[in-house]
Symmetry: C2
Subunit: 362 residues, 2 copies
């Protein structure tokens, strides 16, 4: 057994200091006393109307284009059912969020990866895949991508929605990290560039709390209506008091200051991650994230994923198997670093252990 | 337009006076302050452990046999995926809960109804259907059935689980109304009679609040484990703060007194319903419910469902289309009376209007 302290580079969860506990508890008591006959009752499958209205105002869309659910993965499941049939092809960035691959596969959809570069997907590969596979959807995380940390450049955003129009596929744009920007300037969403071709998913998991399980969908009213019908058939109504808590939190104007606080909390962790990567893994390949939860690192040496996982385990460093983010095994070993959940000491020490493994010192 | 006041005999929702608002709000603030790092974080797909433990104690099963989800309909969806394949047959009581029929059908399962009598399904018809269709599951609501109000007699419970063993099908026992008993004595659950063949569903929707969307599953640890995996793939974690609120409410010992209060609230409504049926619809067929939410009435005259709905609409009485509770159109017109949600004045007046329609006076 290693005597090193255990460090986990695994799930992208917020650190506990991210949670504004007292405010959330106060919002809960307050909104439940204020609106109990709605929050404690069966309701519409599209979710708590005041929060839908708040989101509609924020995004400047009619409320009919906004639907709430028990987390955005549940919405990904509903969109898969509504926008694809078994045997259809979905395109994803390669690498991408592993649970999206699982969702498509469980619904019988063939998943084809399009190589992700430092500024978004390779456009030639995307066009070729669209030609070859006639995909029904492209799933994309354009801001601070999970797992690679990449943000899609504006020119690529425009090219992607243009291809969606030309080839007739839907874009599912997943933007849970978008507001967690520590450096640089925001790019327009794909939804804003092509509101009739893009369904946008997001959630309050990274901006307030994952346990509240509130995701939301913005997009074409016909698709939102179909998802509402499927949601009603699946669970009648999403959990309402948690949506009420979030509404009350937003209504009090606390969300923007919480986002600013989270950016201040996470920015030094990103800085520490990039500094440690430069110091410990000079030959590795990675995009420098400007926000979000993750840095994605392609290792420089001729190491296999299996070797890495064994060596890391011996060094008390738990890694997610990087192959899970790909539709086909990648050529080089990929490591995701979920820096938000880690202390700076663990970021430094964990990346140092990775460097030692790569240099054959462990 | 009718000048009569509108009355709705439609959804089985609790009346607003059922909600113990102040206690729920207080439990919310308290549990969120007490256990925020669990309740606001991602967690296990099987739900909030303290509530699972509380339920395990209540039902005298190991905690591994208990799983929580966002309402019991979501669990019905998961069980359908786990226990059946498209093309399989499921048996249901005829009539049965309409959303269960929808869930089976959406998953490609053929639904076959077994006639429901005043003391449970007709056993000869059940045996014949088991012989003929080799069903994978039987879905049954043995206590205060939705929509018929029937409670399955003990001898039939024993016979049903014996058939499940003999023919090798699963029983899904749905018991959301079980604790709402206003008269008579509780019968053993099917789960207690055959814990290896019966998966039990229930929820806090009728005992505390539907908006909290907390259903639970009890049963074989292998099936519970498979459902937990599917739940994780679908939504990662169920909504946790609502489960925490319920746990705190139960921990404080408030649930039993709330159930007693609800029974006192609903018993006079059942009494009024049965008195009005005797008075206004002497030729109708119905079981006399001893609890729950519903009385199910088969009308005496040669009236079609379409005629009834039109006449009721003219009398400002909104009815659920009774045919939705059947897999094949019933021979006689069926009306569900969700008495809990109604005032006694509306029960009296609504059933009086029904009687007038049946007697051709409207």
């Amino acid at each position: 057994m290693s005597s090193l302290r255990p460090i986990a580079f695994t799930r992208g969860v917020p650190p506990v200091e991210a949670f504004p506990v007292a405010e959330v508890a106060d919002c809960a008591a307050s909104v439940l006393r204020e609106d109990p006959n709605i929050l404690l009752q069966y309701g519409k499958s599209s979710g708590y109307l005041p929060l839908r209205r708040w989101l509609a105002d924020q995004h400047d869309v009619p409320v009919e284009q906004v639907l709430l659910s028990n987390g955005s993965l549940q919405l990904m499941e509903f969109l898969t059912v509504e926008l694809t049939n078994p045997g259809d092809v979905a395109l994803v960035e390669s690498p991408t969020y592993d649970r999206t691959i699982t969702t498509f596969c469980r619904n019988g959809v063939e998943v084809v990866g399009v190589p992700l570069e430092g500024d978004g997907v390779n456009l030639e590969a995307l066009a070729a895949a669209a030609e070859q596979y006639h995909p029904k959807v492209l799933y994309i995380i354009p801001d601070f991508q999970n797992p690679a940390g990449v943000t899609t450049a504006l020119a690529k955003r425009r090219a992607i929605v243009e291809m969606a129009q030309r080839f007739g596929f839907w874009v599912i744009e997943d933007v849970p990290y978008r507001r967690l920007r520590y450096y640089g300037e925001e790019q327009p969403t794909l939804f804003s560039l092509a509101p009739d071709r893009v369904m946008q998913l997001s959630s309050f998991s990274k901006l307030l709390s994952p346990g509240l399980r509130t995701g939301y969908l913005l997009g074409a009213v016909e698709v939102v209506g179909e998802v509402a019908k499927l949601a009603e058939d699946t669970y009648i109504t999403p959990a309402l008091p948690t949506e009420g808590i979030i509404y009350e939190y937003c209504r009090r104007g606390l969300l923007e200051e919480n986002i600013a606080r989270l950016c201040d909390l996470y920015r030094p962790k990103l800085d520490a991650t990039l500094a440690a990567l430069r110091r410990e893994l000079p030959g590795a390949g990675y995009a420098e994230p400007q926000g979000g939860y993750f840095a994605g690192v392609t290792l420089p040496e001729n190491l296999t994923t299996a070797d890495l996982l064994v060596a890391a385990g011996r060094a008390n460093l738990t890694l997610t198997n990087g192959e899970g983010f790909f539709t086909e095994p990648p050529e080089r070993v990929f490591v995701r670093i979920p820096f938000c959940s880690l202390s700076i000491a663990d970021i430094d020490e964990g990346i140092a252990r990775l460097g030692q493994i790569v240099r054959g010192k462990r």
